[in-house]
């Protein structure tokens, strides 16, 4: 068990969201899409230039930029 910043996660690595440290519009958008503490995620792939990142959550695929992933900490196995 370790807590990682989402930016540092590898392809196909999965984990459980530990915290989301963003407020305002960015925080709201992150949470609206289901990225809340306790949610399971798995990194699906990254764009050809390594950014943005695509991840699987609650059965759908979501993309976000690394600069947005920075606000999310994930507990990984």
């Amino acid at each position: 068990m370790a807590i990682l910043n989402m930016r540092q996660m590898q392809k196909n690595q999965s984990g459980i969201i530990f915290s989301v440290k963003a407020d305002g519009e960015m925080g709201r958008r992150i949470r609206d899409m289901g990225l809340v503490p306790g949610a399971e995620i798995k990194i699906q792939r990254r764009a050809p230039l390594y950014d943005p990142v695509a991840l699987r959550i609650m059965g759908f695929t979501l993309t976000l930029r690394n600069s947005e992933a920075d606000f999310i900490e994930v507990e990984v196995q």
Binding site: I30, V36, P52, M58, G59, T61, L62, T63
Partner: protein, 735 residues
């Protein structure tokens, strides 16, 4: 009283497909006042009952951050629809219910359309519909929007709910101890002071204050500043407490508890079988190739080229029909109407103007059909995903690429459909920056201008120069986008948090409705504003006519020419048809008369308002190397860029030049005094960057939601273009 139902739901939930299925073609598309969000209304007729259905914009939430959400919320509060049909993607229940919970918190009568049951079943998800309905306390109807399954049941259930009449109590969820306590204190305050309670439920107002919702807080401040202050103080207290004890924010706590509420509901047996999350869906398999590091960009290039080919090659035929129809109409009108101002107004002003504009219609139809396929299938989201990193550098968005390409990123596009293609962008600042910079691309109408100049001055290196022109346009557009995003459209990048929807086959009905809507909106515009402007431009190039003295001068020159030949030849010259062999004398006479006519046209053009503007500007435009003839041509280019070529033709007394065949004009320019390769470069730069044609300006104003931006693009672009041209000409002159 007419009954209004609203349809709401997440993007990609199949909401619009269901809306199309229920209302058929009985739709009306407008705009919500003051914003660019589309308002779609439709009518459902069953027996003698008529129901108006409004398709609210797709949203994930009901906060006040995006225009779509504000519009949806205001509609629910102000129009009070009898029932909200909440379309939910059954294969994606948890996230979709997040919006549902927010409707219930607002105390809105809701009926759920549990859509995409087929997809859910295929993925092995089993949903206990009755249980879900019981737990939420609202009707839940399974539907499959693609084939219309369940739509009648849905309407029946919604009607039943609407007849019920009374507003349901607001759903009360626990948001954790700290927030719950503050919430009830705030609620008490709100209720006793009747703070905004005539419009909103009291608990909901308190919740919005806790969520730091700017729209509601500002409304509160205006109406009851004292109460608002007290509420804000309470929020601050709990906010500070949460921050110091748990490092979190009230809005975060509220969202967490909403999701917690949904999760606990689902755990009570709503989903009876959960599939293995790791299972590879078909979409994942496709994405492995389509967004692959090397294959992905290659395929994207192929798809974009394909869209481009499709739009511009296949639309050529119907564009040709439109052109020949308007040419025929113009000829017929010329033949029927007597020579003079009325004929000129109708033929050159109205028919040419509107014809030029309607000539874009097939182009717009093809482009929107192509983009609809790319968008509805889910591929557009992948394009944005792959290109975002590049476009973000310039303050744009991954999706901006479509608008740039269509506008002429590959030489030969058109800024009008390009501007309209920016609709696929959902982030307002990135969208505006895209709208304002796509006109720099080399559209098909600028090409004849470049072709003319390149043929005249750089005949040994045509391809190289054309390629350089394309690079200059791209580089300029991206740099200007960067400039705008750090000045007039300053602001943080809009978060890129976006769903990659599963790949789907677009429905035929959806494509047709989508394409027709956009095309019709464009046609409506052509009939009004654009007609007006084309008449103004015609007048500028026609009035005032030559003074009687000058006209008489040309007339007497003509008479002189006629008098120099015998009356028999003169008589013959009137009756002879051009194609037949003419005698030498007659040919000579005709040539002489033509020269006089052309000289008169040149004089008339110089004398007109446009000509006077051109002449007056000569002292300034000399800095960039342009004389009055070029100036007039550039003024004319505001009508449509290809007019630059034909106006130059008139200004050089060559008559109307066909933009496709410019050899004579190129020849003329090469020999004309005041022209040089340097002037040609200066004019090329100016043509790339100066004011978009007026059709594009009208579209920019419309898409940006204000004439301010249309005017901005004219003024800013022209100043930019002039600055660059002067720089090129002045620096070039040093060598």
């Amino acid at each position: 009283m007419k009954t209004i139902f609203a349809m709401a739901g997440n993007p990609n939930s199949g909401k619009t497909t269901l809306f199309n299925e229920i209302t058929g073609a009985r739709q009306h598309v407008g705009n919500y006042p003051g914003v660019t969000v589309e308002k779609k209304e439709g009518i459902y007729i069953n027996k003698d009952r008529k129901i108006n259905i409004v398709d609210l914009p797709g949203t994930y939430s009901l906060t006040a951050y995006s225009q779509e959400e504000v519009v949806a919320r205001d509609f629910l509060v102000n129009e009070k629809p009898a029932v909200v049909i909440n379309v939910i993607d059954a294969s994606n229940l948890e996230r979709n219910l997040y919006l549902t919970i927010q409707f219930l918190e607002m105390g809105i009568p809701v009926c759920i359309a549990l859509n995409m049951m087929d997809v859910a079943k295929k993925r092995g998800i089993k949903i206990d519909i009755e249980k879900l309905s019981d737990l939420l306390g609202i009707p839940v109807i399974p539907t499959i929007a693609r084939n219309g399954n369940g739509k009648y049941e849905l309407i029946r259930a919604a009607q039943k709910r609407a007849k019920h009449g009374n507003t349901p109590a607001c759903l009360e969820i626990s948001y954790g101890n700290d927030i719950d306590q503050t919430l009830s204190k705030m609620e008490a305050e709100i209720r006793t002071k009747q703070f905004l309670t005539e419009t909103y439920p009291s608990r909901w107002i308190a919740l919005k204050y806790l969520e730091n919702d700017k729209q509601i807080i500002n409304l509160g401040k205006r109406n009851h500043p004292v109460v608002s202050n007290r509420l804000e103080k309470m929020v601050r207290r709990v906010s500070d407490h949460l921050k110091s004890t748990m490092e979190t924010y009230p809005e975060a706590e509220i969202a967490d508890h909403r999701y917690g509420y949904i999760k606990s509901m689902i755990k009570q047996g709503v989903i009876t079988h959960k599939p293995d999350q790791d299972r590879l869906f078909i979409s994942d398999k496709i994405d492995k190739v389509v967004t692959h590091r090397f294959l992905g960009p290659l395929m994207m290039f192929a798809v974009i080229m394909g869209l481009y080919q499709f739009t511009f090659t296949y639309s050529e035929i119907p564009v040709g029909w439109f052109e020949s129809f308007f040419a025929w109409l113009g000829d017929t009108a010329s033949a029927l109407l007597p020579d003079g101002l009325i004929q000129s107004l109708i033929v050159s002003g109205i028919i040419d103007g509107v014809g030029g504009v309607l000539g874009f219609v097939p182009l717009i139809m093809f482009m929107f059909l192509g983009i609809s396929i790319i968008e509805d299938s889910g591929y557009l989201a992948r394009v944005a995903f792959m290109l975002d990193r590049v476009f973000r550098i310039f303050g744009l968005h991954g999706n901006s690429v479509m608008a740039f390409i269509v506008s002429g990123g590959i030489a030969g596009g058109c800024a009008v459909p390009g501007v309209m293609a920016s609709r696929t962008l959902k982030s307002p600042r990135e969208r505006l920056a895209t709208l304002l910079t796509v006109p720099f691309m080399n559209c098909g109408a600028k090409l004849p201008v470049f072709a003319l100049l390149v043929a005249a001055f750089f005949p040994e290196n045509e391809a190289g120069v054309m390629f350089a022109i394309t690079l200059i346009a791209w580089g300029g557009a991206l740099l200007v986008a960067r400039l705008l995003r750090s000045t007039v459209i300053r602001g943080e990048a809009t978060p890129f948090i976006m769903e990659l929807p599963p790949y789907r086959f677009p429905t035929f009905k959806g494509l047709m409705i989508h394409t027709w809507e956009k095309t019709w909106q464009y046609i409506k515009k052509a009939g009004t504003v654009i007609l007006g402007i084309s008449i103004i431009l015609w007048a500028m190039m026609t009035f005032p006519g030559l003074s009687e003295e000058r006209a008489n001068e040309f007339e007497s020159q003509r008479n002189l020419a006629k008098a120099s030949v015998s009356s028999a030849i003169l008589k013959k010259s009137r009756t002879e048809v051009e194609e037949t062999e003419l005698s030498k004398e007659i040919r000579k006479l005709k040539e002489k008369l033509d020269t006089i006519d052309l000289a008169e046209a040149e004089a008339a053009l110089k004398y007109s308002i446009a000509g006077r503007i051109g002449t007056a500007l000569e002292s300034i435009s000399k800095l960039a190397g342009f004389d009055w003839r070029t100036n007039i041509a550039l003024v004319g280019g505001f009508a449509a860029k290809e007019v630059v070529v034909s106006t130059l033709g008139t200004a050089y007394s060559l008559g109307n030049i066909d933009p496709e065949e410019t050899e004579s004009l190129a020849d003329r320019l090469k020999r004309a005094p005041g022209w040089s390769p340097l002037v040609a470069w200066s004019l090329i730069i100016f043509t790339i960057f100066y004011a978009p044609c007026f059709v594009a300006v009208v579209c920019i104003s419309r898409e940006a939601g204000s004439w301010k931006w249309g005017i901005f693009s004219m003024v800013f672009n022209t100043i930019l273009a002039f600055t660059l041209s002067v720089a090129v000409f002045q620096i070039g002159s040093l060598f």
